[in-house]
């Protein structure tokens, strides 16, 4: 019953407002009249009675307001009213509104975009059911020391036999695979996997089946599962592709299944999975395999790690070749995300700073505006508006602004994400999971509300403190009201902190820029122009090349034909390429070298090349000679070492004439004679200093996959002719990964460039916002001091001294901010040190440079209002009041 009454009242209050108000008016009027009558009856004159009655009532409007406030739906109605009122006030000052919305759009937009990237990469569920229970299992041991190292089949069998933690241990190995039969031969990214691979990832095939138990036993028939993309491209999405035979690296395999588009493991571009028959090996090696397995129910990653480490201990006891062996366990997502977690976290922190600066900026603008509205606030207070009501009104305005900024920010975010995806820096993993969607929208709304409250709270509180008497007495000279010391103080603090925050961002961006510049200066170790170097991967897929002799003949033929291609200045073969294609790394031993038991030399790059490789790439010969055609299979084994290897292992003697060979268990391979020393070349990334390498001639050691390396001033234009020349030697040879050295170098710095570009644009926005902040406070101060400046000029102050006075104020703010910012930056840039190359996190040059830039911008921002100050005409200024 009471509920119905309440609803009825609510309806009446909202929709029959006019009558409700009229009745209230009538009711109060009667009250006044009756009270006046009483007083007249007891002998007062009508005028006296009326005055006494009004005093007793205490203001009809106030009483009305009190009644209105207890009414049903008062909150709703006043909110709507506040919104209407805010829209009106905001549209009256489009300049202010525009600047605020722009600042917020940049801040919120950048954050929403960054959030989408971070969410997509770090948090969005992977397409693998319960992926948080899936682990990758690596093997780490000395002397290889790869953090996410691989294991050999013997290790896998030991792990599988002793495993307690996982459902079904399995291994996989990524490799390029040559496809033939039905259509053009092509090379695609493939993976060899054991049966447990698919049951671990638990993704149902789109078509057909995955591998069955037993299909990884020795002697099992070759079967293949292909990707949806390959199925559409090569088989026109025909279900009859199932059961067809495809030649994989020359051997026939039957297609049994098609995986859906979302299944992208172990690599984003893996297109074919073949069964890996686990043949019990006779020796430890080769180390090609990574483990993947699903935790048994109730088992934690920590328990699994203890289990695999115990297994590692046993493997090590039985195989003294391994030292410090562990089997690291890593969550699937961490494995996919890899190295981008740190840069992403840094960028998220940076973009948060940008938003903070935007909020400080807007708060400052709002405060400036609040002071000009003191008259309005005081008037509304005196007319009976409650203080809470005023605060509510001001907060509504802030929230409206924030929402408008947020919506504009969505466009910014959308554009940013499109830009990012199309520019995709190549090695940003999981980029396909990045998009603007529900969670991003929710994030934007939350951020907008939080920022709205943050920048609205100070002006709102100021509004609440509005002092009725003094403000009204000043007769609406709004600009001078409420400019008390605490308020000015607060605004100064805001601008100084804005400058400090900007400096911190700029310092970070500056360091990354310097580091990227350093990275660009790393040459990779060759002097040939990267534009002139073209590389083509070749792989003879036919089984006739299982023997080494025909392979050597093929390589000779390819080299010979390539030399004839017009425009080719020099051509060679190599199985590794700078800056980061290392085909093989292994430990080695030097003849006569005495090592402690169990000790061995570190793993170094092992490169198979043709003799022309060094002159083609213009890698300097430091000592001895290059390989020549006389280094035949029948002759003595020869090798060339890198400068670093020479320095590390032959520090005081001439390496030429010494002997080395690869080390390993049961090694009966003969030693090779060192015939030359060449300059260091990067094979493991530009950032790395692991330049130790030794080279072997392809005439003595055959590589199964090589690159044709050609130098030509025509650059990539000769690629088609070279491809034809290679396939003229044998049409069954696939040509793949055609790229210019320039592109490869550029890809090598893609991720650092990504961090740098993003952080630099954040810093740019921050600098812009800081400039607006300084400009705002100085311009405001000039306006406030128009009178004073006018007096000074009237008394004979020169324009330059006025200019200096105003600029000095701006410089003071900037210097305070810069000092604070430098301290903050020193503390924060340490977080960057993992991302830096060749630059210290506290690089004084960078710090000095960004401080100078910021100071210059600050001076410029205060110069504009300063010049305006010098143009103040004393007469006008004095009349201004």
């Amino acid at each position: 019953m009471p509920l119905l009454t309440r609803l009825f009242s609510l309806r009446r209050n909202l929709f029959d407002k006019h009558r409700v108000e009229q009745e209230l008016e009538a009711e109060l009027h009667t009250y006044l009249e009756e009270l006046t009558d009483e007083k007249v009856r007891s002998g007062a004159s009508f005028a006296a009675a009326r005055r006494a009655a009004l005093v007793e009532i205490g203001g009809l409007e106030q009483v009305k307001e009190e009644v209105r406030q207890i009414r049903m739906g008062n909150m709703l109605e006043s909110t709507l009213h506040d919104i209407r009122y805010s829209l009106r006030t905001l549209s009256r000052s489009p300049g202010f509104t525009g600047v605020v919305i722009l600042a917020l759009a940049l801040g919120i937009g950048a954050n929403t975009a960054m959030y989408s990237v971070a969410y997509g990469i770090l948090m969005r569920p992977l397409p693998y059911p319960a992926d948080d229970r899936v682990a990758l299992v690596y093997m780490h041991f000395s002397p290889q020391n790869f953090e996410r190292g691989t294991m050999c089949i013997a290790d896998f069998l030991d792990w599988k036999a002793q495993n307690h933690a996982f459902e079904e241990p399995s291994v996989f190995s990524s490799r390029r695979m040559d496809l033939a039969g039905a259509g053009e031969p092509e090379q695609v990214q493939g993976a060899m996997v054991t049966t447990g691979f698919f049951s671990t990832l638990q993704v149902a095939p789109l078509l057909g089946r995955v591998f069955l138990p037993g299909e990884d036993r020795p002697g099992a028939a070759s079967v293949a599962v292909i990707s949806e993309a390959l199925w559409r491209r090569r088989y026109a999405a025909d279900p009859a592709a199932l059961g067809q035979t495809v030649a994989v690296n020359g051997g026939p395999a039957t297609i049994v299944g098609v995986m859906p588009e979302a299944f992208r493991f172990p690599r984003a571009n893996t297109e074919i999975w073949t069964n890996l028959p686990v043949v019990p090996p006779t020796r430890r090696g080769p180390f090609f395999y990574r483990g993947i397995a699903r935790l048994k129910p109730g088992v934690t990653f920590e328990q699994a790690q203890r289990d695999t480490n115990a297994i590692g201990q046993r493997i090590m006891r039985e195989n003294p070749y391994y030292r410090n062996l562990t089997l690291p366990v890593e969550r699937l997502r961490d494995a996919l995300v890899g190295d981008v977690r740190t840069p992403l976290l840094v960028l998220i922190g940076a973009v948060g700073l940008v938003l903070l600066i935007a909020v400080v900026n807007v708060a400052n603008l709002m405060l400036a505006r609040a002071t000009t509205r003191h008259g309005e606030m005081a008037l509304r207070l005196s007319l009976g508006a409650g203080r809470m009501r005023l605060v509510g009104q001001l907060l509504t305005e802030s929230l409206l602004l924030a929402m408008a900024g947020g919506i504009a920010g969505l466009f910014v975010a959308y554009g940013a994400i499109q830009l990012l995806r199309s520019w995709n820096p190549g090695n940003l993993p999981l980029i396909e999971y990045v998009r603007l969607d529900g969670p991003a929208l929710a994030f934007m709304v939350v951020i907008a509300i939080v920022t709205g409250v943050l920048f609205g709270i100070a002006p709102a509180l100021q509004g609440m403190r509005a002092d009725l008497n003094s403000t009204l007495k000043e007769g609406g000279r709004g600009s001078r009201a409420g400019t008390g010391a605490p308020q000015r103080h607060l605004r100064t603090v805001l601008v100084v902190s804005e400058i400090a925050l900007s400096l911190m961002l700029m310092a970070g961006a500056g360091l990354l820029l310097r580091s990227l510049d350093r990275l660009h200066r790393v040459t990779g170790g060759f002097a040939a122009s990267p534009h002139a170097i073209l590389t083509l991967g070749i792989s003879p897929s036919d089984h006739k090349y299982d023997q080494e002799a025909p392979m050597r003949v093929l390589y000779d033929d390819i080299l010979e034909r390539s030399r004839q291609v017009p425009g080719v200045e020099s051509v060679a073969l190599s199985d590794s390429l700078p800056p980061s294609y290392q085909s093989d790394a292994d430990t080695f031993m030097i003849q006569g070298q005495v090592l402690a038991p169990g000790e061995s030399n570190p793993a170094v790059s092992v490169v198979i090349v043709s003799g022309e490789y060094f002159p083609t790439m213009r890698i300097p010969l430091l000592k001895g000679r290059f390989f020549t055609p006389q280094d035949k299979l029948s002759g003595p084994g020869v090798t060339i070492i890198s400068e670093s290897l020479a320095r590390h292992f032959f520090p005081k003697r001439d390496p030429i004439g010494q002997h080395l060979k690869w080390s390993g268990p049961d090694n009966k391979v003969p030693y090779m004679e060192i015939v030359g020393v060449v300059g260091d070349v990067k094979y493991t990334g530009l950032q790395n200093d692991t330049d130790d390498a030794y080279y072997m001639p392809y005439t003595q050691v055959v590589g199964k996959r090589m690159f044709v390396v050609a130098r030509s001033s025509l650059g990539t234009a000769i690629a088609p002719a070279l491809r034809r020349a290679i396939q003229a030697a044998d049409p069954g040879v696939t040509v793949n990964q055609v790229a210019s050295m320039q592109v490869m170098l550029s890809q090598a710095v893609a991720l650092p460039r990504f961090d740098t570009v993003l952080l630099a644009s954040f810093a740019g926005v921050a600098l812009l916002l800081a400039a607006v902040g300084i400009y705002g406070i100085i311009a405001y101060s000039v306006a406030r001091r128009t009178h004073e400046i006018g007096v000074r000029m009237a008394l004979g102050a020169r324009q330059t001294s006025v200019l200096r006075m105003v600029i000095r104020q701006g410089a003071g703010l900037a210097l305070a901010g810069i000092a604070l910012g430098l301290a903050g930056a020193l503390a924060l840039t340490r977080l960057l040190s993992n991302l830096l190359f060749g630059v210290a996190a506290t690089d004084p040059l960078t710090f000095a440079a960004v401080a100078t830039v910021l100071l210059a911008v600050a001076l410029l921002a205060s110069f504009i209002p300063a010049r305006r100050a010098t143009r103040i005409s004393p007469v006008v200024a004095l009349r201004y009041e």
Binding site: E34, Q62, V63
Partner: protein, 107 residues
């Protein structure tokens, strides 16, 4: 001597006043002064918000009638829900006043 109204007592006084007679605003405030022997003087700033709130709560009902001086005036009367509320609040008040009295008498 006029005393400030205790929080919550105003509702009870209004309910009690209207239980005897239907009254308009000024009538209610006079009657309250009368039945409390001048201890409580209710100002319009508290009276009208209270009346409107109680009406919206369904305890009071109102109609437009004629005042003693032939003016159009808004009269308030108790609804059945208001009567229940009066009984409940009276009980509550008596409980409190007994408790307070015994508390103040104890040594």
């Amino acid at each position: 001597m006029p005393t400030n109204l205790l929080q919550g007592t105003l509702d009870l006084l209004i309910l009690k006043t209207l239980a005897l007679q239907e009254l308009h605003g000024l009538g209610i405030s006079h009657r309250i002064a009368q039945i409390t022997k001048g201890t409580f003087q209710v100002k319009p700033g508290s009276l009208f918000p209270a009346l409107h709130r109680m009406e919206e709560s369904g305890w009071l009902d109102s109609y437009w009638g004629e005042s003693e001086n032939n003016r159009r005036a808004k009269y308030y009367r108790l609804t059945p829900a208001g009567r229940n509320q009066l009984m409940a609040e009276t009980d509550e008040w008596q409980r409190i006043s007994i408790a307070m009295a015994s508390a103040l008498e104890s040594t």
